[in-house]
Structures are given as C-alpha cells and as structure tokens.
C-alpha cells in the first residue's frame, strides 16, 4: 500500500509550493488597493471641491437681486423715482408713475433711465421691467381705466429674473398698491 502511494505523482511538488518570501506573482491585490485608494481620494476630492466649483456658474441671481432691490428703493423712496416727497417713503404719485411708464416705452429714454439706475455701463447691461399692481394682483388702473405703469421688455423665459415687490400708497386714489421691479 505504501509503495503504491509513494509511487504516485505528488499533487503539490515541493518546488512549486507557495513561498511567501520568494513569491513574485499574485500581487494583483496591491493593484486593487492602490486603485481603490485613488478612487476614494478622487471621490472625496470631487465631493469637497466640485460642488462649490460649479456654484459661480450656476446662477447670477444674487447679483440681479441686489440690483432689483436697489432700483426698487430708488423708485419707491426717492423723488428721482415715484415718491411724492423726499420725507415720505413709499407714498407715490400717479403723475410720476405715468411719466415712468412713458420713459420705459421709449427706447432712448429707457436706455438713459437704465444708466441712471446703474443697470447699464460699458461692460454690463441689465433689463428692467416695472409694473404697478393692486393688492389683489390685478393691474393698477387710473380713473379712466388705463393701466398706470406696466412697461419694459417682456420677461424672458429661461434667465434668472430677480424680483422685488414694494408695497406703496397712492395718495391721489387713497389706495394701496404693489410695485413690482424685475431685473435680469
């Protein structure tokens, strides 16, 4: 019995048994580890950096919002805008609103007004749309049923438009109204 056993070919000859100190093959796990490390580092890098990297290109809504706020303040609170007197904020005059409506409708006056309001310069140009609404969101009309103030270019579809709403009081009509200022 023992003779036949010893006569068999050995399944694992001593020569090819695994020698951890002499082994030059089977190192694919090292590749895997370095690969996964590079992957993880890339992942973390993407997560930390790229989210903020794209933010400046996503929208310019902050910029136009501050512009619409500023234009709304000028229109609602100063006599360069619609205000009746320099001491009473938000009390507007229908006459000035009518004048503004005319200006917004005339291209050269509209361009001048944008420059006065700081919306256009040599390098930048923003569009402006101003409207006066009743508190129930219908157009504000004067006694002869004409729309008092609703002018400027048509609002674009896929651009960030900043909107500021001011609540104003029309003294002539004893009415509260909403002044919508939109900049893009």
């Amino acid at each position: 019995m023992s003779k036949t056993t010893s006569g068999r070919k050995k399944v694992f000859p001593r020569k090819s048994r695994i020698n951890p100190f002499n082994d030059t093959r089977g190192q694919i796990s090292l590749d895997f580890i370095s690969g996964i490390v590079i992957f993880m580092v890339t992942f973390l890098f993407l997560f930390q950096t790229l989210t903020s990297l794209f933010v400046p290109f996503q929208s310019s809504s902050d910029e136009v919002k501050s512009m619409s706020d500023r234009v709304a303040i000028t229109l609602a609170e100063s006599t360069n805008g619609l205000a009746n007197s320099p001491t009473d904020n938000n009390i507007i005059s229908l006459k000035r609103a009518g004048e503004l409506n005319y200006c917004m409708n005339t291209t050269t006056l509209y361009d001048d007004m944008r420059e006065d309001l700081g919306l256009s310069s040599e390098t930048t140009s923003y569009d402006l749309n101003v409207s006066l609404y009743n508190l129930d969101r219908s157009m504000y009309r004067d006694l002869s049923n004409n729309v008092v103030l609703n002018n400027g270019p048509v609002l674009p579809q896929n651009v960030n438009v900043a909107q500021t709403v001011r609540i104003v009081y029309v003294e002539q009509d004893d009415e509260f109204a909403l002044l919508f200022v939109r900049v893009w």
Binding site: T42, F43, L46, F47, L50, T51, S52, F54, V55, Q58, S59, S61, D62, K65, D69, A72, A76, D88, N89, N90, I91, L135, D136, R137, T164, V165, R166, I167, V168, Y169, E171, D174, F176, L178
Partner: protein
Amino acid sequence: MIPGVQAILKDNTGQMYTLEGAATAIMIVFLVVFIVQASPLTPLTSSASHQQVESQIETSGSDLLIVLDYVPEGETNSPLKKALVDWTGVEFDGQSSTYPNSVYDLTSVFNRALLADGTAYNLVVAYQNDNKKWDSRAMLWNGRPSDNAVLVSRKVVIHDEDAISASFIPDLSPNSSFYNILDVRLTLWRM
C-alpha cells in the same frame, strides 16, 4: 511601409487598458454629474426658505407698516394709529371677524397684501407698563410662527387727546399730554 506604423497595425495586445481607460473616464464623468446633481442645497438653490424670500418678506412687512402709518391729507391719524386707538384689547384669533371698523380696515389690508401670496402674520402690540417695562398683547393672532419668521416693528406715540380705548395701557405721564408709546410688532412667515 514605415516599420513603426506596421508594428502599430500588427499590434493586437494591450487593448484592455484602452477599454478600461474609456470606462473609467465615463464613470468619472457620471460621478461628477451625479455629485453636482445630488447636492441640492447650495446657498443659491431657490426654495421657500431661501434668504432672499426672507428679505422680501421683511421688505413687505416694513413697507406695510410705513404705508399704514402714513397720515393722508385731511386726516388726523394714520389707519394704523386709528386702529390702535380704537382697539379694546381683544385678541382676534385665526381669521375671526375683527371690530371696530378701523381694526377691520387694518386687518383687511393685511389680508389683501400678505395672505394672497402665502404669508402668514401675527400682530402684537407692546406697551410700557407702570414700571416702564415692555408688556405685550396679541391683536391679530394666526398661530405660532415658523423658525424662519421675520419680525418688523414700528413705534406709535399715543397722546392724552387720542383717548385710547384699551384700558390696560397706562398713562405714563399724567402731568403731560404724553400717554404711552406702542411698539407694533408684525411677525411674518411663509405658510
């Protein structure tokens, strides 16, 4: 043919690396797209709790108090002061009907200006008590405000000749025509 080019054309090994490279590039591009899409709350994302919404509500609130506190020509008091003088101290909860007329007028302006675009409000009147400390009572109450509520306020001076109806507001200076000072606090929040 140039031997170098011949060698390239004959070469049919090492093509796995190119495929892996392409696959990795695609994975990285998808990962970038996924991460950019999956971070929905950057400071510029538009939502109902956006900073700009709060500042718009604050502007509306202070505008509202300014225009309501304007005395039109031919009138003695502003609509806001009329309502404060006529108010008897009753707290009007929810949208219950308000009285007297001046308070009703005030409430209807608030409702038309604020409720229409989904802004809820509370109106609290603070006054100086006998110990010169601020006490307050709700006038129009629509429930507890949310976490990102905005508060705007305006001071209204009351004189003896205004003959204020609310009896719990004391006369701070019996020897002069000054009666008390009211701090009208309007809390606004998105519903």
